[in-house]
């Protein structure tokens, strides 16, 4: 009687919510048939049965959440003809680790693994192997352990990844830094003894502020429960703000030439084929990032990871929050291709139909509040990226013409880059922004590059 478990739909998915059961107990289920809709941090998606049989029990009800790999329903395997291999936790619809295809069953998938749908906690694996499995979205039950007593070690995870075909890819992208390295500096001078005693934290009463808030909360205030998306945004923004030392650098760009070029390019084109100012900014970023690989990167304790492709995430405001679908391989795309792909992924995001793989693998983010008339703003870097560009509105502004005293109307736009100061420094960011400015002010290069 195989269990149906909460699949892992993305490398950072920790739990999912059952939106709707498409089957009820007693229903016959065919392999591959959708059985439920689940909501992950960012998407709502149908999950399919891996086996045929009769749905005997729903463990997690609609509206309830369950951690990844938890049993959500039970299936009676029919007459038990072929005890199905419990690959249950393999994701049904989309790859579990972003880029790579769904894990093909390993050729040598060993019998012992198939026997018991062991809880992940029962599997012998080193802490390092467990961490890597988490980061790559690997189900440890599918990995064969080569260590003593079958312990899964780092090598086994690496072997699994390469067998799966996915390059170990952008290595463990910046896990949260480990506990501050202990010790190291000897206490100063006579301090071996004299360090102040640790604050008696354990004894102190709970901070009064907290109590006050909960007591004094006016009857009228309402608490809106956090949606999964809100929780994700909150977790990742907090992580970034706490752990990524941000620097902010701005530059003003004269968009006159870019607007003229855009008008020319769009003349007579169908609306769905038109190029937006944002598309031009994205294209300029793609070209500039090739010259500044350090900004298309991720910080890790082992070193700066330079990403081989430029995958630009486009921040999209939704009623329910914020999402940043990724336009992959911008380095190889023409301006037109960027425009079309952006329209496609943004539409999917707006319609709630986006798949996890389109939300992963971003290496740089562009966020644009120009349509709201915001002249300039700053954005928070999306971990584990190294930089995020905030694009302001184009303002028609009186300005001096070149070096003369003549005042003319210019179309000025402010760009502000937030960058991870562990990866880069102000001067490099300044050079990058100047390159963006050059590309946007002489935009023919965008058509060629």
């Amino acid at each position: 009687m195989p269990d149906i478990t909460m699949p892992k739909m993305g490398f950072d998915m920790q739990e999912g919510t059952i939106v709707r059961w498409l089957k009820k107990p007693g229903d016959e289920v065919r392999r591959g048939e959708p059985i439920a809709e689940i909501e992950t941090d960012k998407v709502t998606i149908e999950i399919e049965a891996f086996e045929s049989g009769t749905l005997t029990e729903i463990v997690v009800q609609e509206g309830q959440s369950a951690p990844v790999n938890a049993v959500i329903a039970r299936l009676d395997g029919g007459n038990g003809s072929q005890a199905p291999a419990p690959v249950a936790a393999a994701p049904a619809v989309s790859p579990s680790a972003g880029v790579s295809p769904p894990p093909a069953p390993l050729p040598e998938a060993p019998a012992p693994l198939a026997e018991s749908p062991a809880d992940i906690g029962d599997i012998r694996a080193s802490p390092l192997a467990r961490r890597l499995a988490r980061e790559y979205g690997i189900d440890l039950r599918q990995v064969r352990g080569s260590g003593p007593a079958g312990r899964i070690v780092k090598e086994d995870i690496e072997a699994y990844l390469s067998a799966r075909g996915g390059a170990p890819a952008p290595a463990p992208v910046s896990p949260p830094p480990p506990a501050p390295a202990p010790v190291s500096s000897p206490p100063p001078a006579p301090a071996a003894v004299s360090a102040p005693p640790p604050a008696p934290a354990a004894v102190s009463p709970p901070p009064p502020a907290l109590a006050a808030v909960s007591v004094a909360q006016p009857a009228a205030s309402a608490v809106v429960p956090l949606s999964n998306m809100r929780k994700t945004i909150s977790r990742r923004m907090l992580q970034s703000w706490q752990q990524f030392p941000h620097i902010f650098v701005s530059i003003e760009v004269d968009m006159g030439a870019a607007l003229a070029l855009r008008a020319q390019a769009n003349a007579g084109r169908a609306r769905e084929d038109q190029v937006s100012v944002n598309d031009m900014v994205v294209k300029a970023c793609a070209v500039a990032l090739l010259a500044f690989p350090n900004l298309n990167a991720s910080y890790s304790d082992e070193g700066i990871i330079l990403h081989p492709t430029v995958n630009i995430a486009i921040a999209v405001a939704l009623e329910s929050g914020l999402m940043a679908p990724v336009v992959a391989n911008c380095q190889d795309r023409s301006l037109g291709s960027i425009a079309r792909e952006t329209k496609r992924v943004v539409a999917l995001a707006r319609e709630g139909k986006i798949t996890p793989d389109l939300l992963q693998g971003g290496t740089f983010t562009v966020s644009n509040l120009g349509m709201y008339g915001i002249p300039e703003f700053t954005s928070i870097i999306t971990p584990p990226q190294a930089a995020s560009l905030a694009v302001g509105a184009i303002r028609r502004t009186p300005a001096f013409k070149d070096d003369s005293d003549e005042v003319v109307a210019k179309h000025l736009m402010m760009l502000t880059l937030s960058a991870d100061h562990r990866v880069t420094d102000g001067a490099e960011v300044a050079r990058f922004l100047n390159e963006l400015k050059r590309l946007l002010e002489q935009p023919l290069a965008l058509l060629i590059g």
Binding site: P127, P178, A181, A192
Partner: protein, 322 residues
């Protein structure tokens, strides 16, 4: 750079320290006899009986005198011939030297150095011990156990200049170990570990004489293509784990080698810190190589079964890599 022995490195550091009028040396047989391991040979003739003080067999008194002198501004160096005899001075060391600074509101420090030596070689159970862990357990002390002539010289100088009581641990089987050390005066800071050998496969965390045995083990394993990285802690308190953790995060496997009994020993603390701060990097259980848990036998054969050998280190590394 000249190549000198550990003994010569210590002599140079002591001669250098004697330039400071506040420094004197007190201990058993350090004057007329020139000390059991020859470190202070000739010092009495050169510096006179005021500053090179032969003491009676009274370890508690030797350390007590050093503490008192340190409190009133001297820089005493107390030599306890063998660490086994330091047991008689533990009250002085633990209840006085380690605590005076904090118990008297920081009015005075105790800038003394206690030089002593670990070791064995058919000296039997009461004379073949290592109490590194007892010293290192005590807040208020600094505990140093270098491995090379370079560090011996630089860290003894730093210990003498240090405002706190420092236990400086040598090893009878290391006095003839050779290595490069500059002739001029220099210090090596206390509380800083060092990378003794680079390698990508496994981290050996160790200190004192075991650094040299670990190097030999690494040479043997290198023939099989196994690259061992060795971290020499150099100081046990304050314990600098940053180098070891950095290495461990790279290799994901570690063996801790210390020349003391395993239970509650220095290797237990070192391994605990690796687990505590490196848990997510751990790919195999951490192994430890130490004395077997018996009072040291006199019999040569049994003694060799009890102490740490290169073979045992090699075996532990292979097992941890399997």
């Amino acid at each position: 750079m000249p190549v000198i022995t550990v003994r010569e490195a210590l002599r140079q550091a002591l001669h250098d320290a004697m330039q400071d009028e506040r420094v004197f040396i007190i201990g058993e047989d350090i004057g007329h006899y020139g000390s059991t391991y020859g470190v202070t040979a000739g010092f009495l003739e050169q510096y006179g009986p005021e500053r090179i003080r032969d003491a009676p067999i009274a370890e508690s008194g030797i350390v007590g005198i050093a503490i008192g002198a340190a409190m009133v501004g001297m820089r005493p160096i107390a030599e306890i011939m063998s660490v086994n005899f330091s047991l008689l001075a533990f009250d002085m060391l633990f209840n006085h030297a380690a605590k005076i600074y904090s118990m008297f509101g920081g009015q005075m420090t105790v800038p003394m150095v206690l030089r002593t030596t670990n070791g064995w070689t058919q000296l039997s159970a009461t004379h073949s011990q290592s109490f590194d862990v007892y010293f290192a357990h005590m807040p208020g002390l600094k505990v140093v156990a270098p491995a090379t002539p370079y560090d011996m010289k630089g860290m003894l100088k730093a210990a003498i200049e240090d405002p706190d009581p420092v236990v400086f641990i040598e090893h009878t089987l290391m006095y003839t170990v050779k290595g490069e050390a500059p002739e001029e005066s220099y210090t090596v800071p206390l509380g800083k570990a060092r990378l003794a050998r680079e390698g990508r496969d496994i981290t050996v965390v160790t200190y004192s004489r075991m650094v040299h045995l670990s190097q030999q083990a690494a040479d043997i394993l290198a023939r099989d293509g196994i690259e061992v990285e060795i971290v020499d802690l150099r100081t046990l308190r304050p314990l600098d784990m940053s180098v070891a953790l950095e290495s461990f995060k790279k290799t994901n496997r570690a063996v801790v080698v210390t020349e003391d009994w395993q239970s509650f020993g220095t290797s237990a603390e070192i391994a605990a810190r690796l687990y505590e701060y490196g848990f997510d990097y751990l790919d195999a259980p951490i192994a430890r190589v130490n004395f077997r848990e018996v009072p040291m036998p006199y019999s040569k054969n049994l003694e060799l079964q009890t102490v740490v050998t290169v073979d045992r280190i090699v075996h532990a590394i292979r097992k941890t890599l399997s």
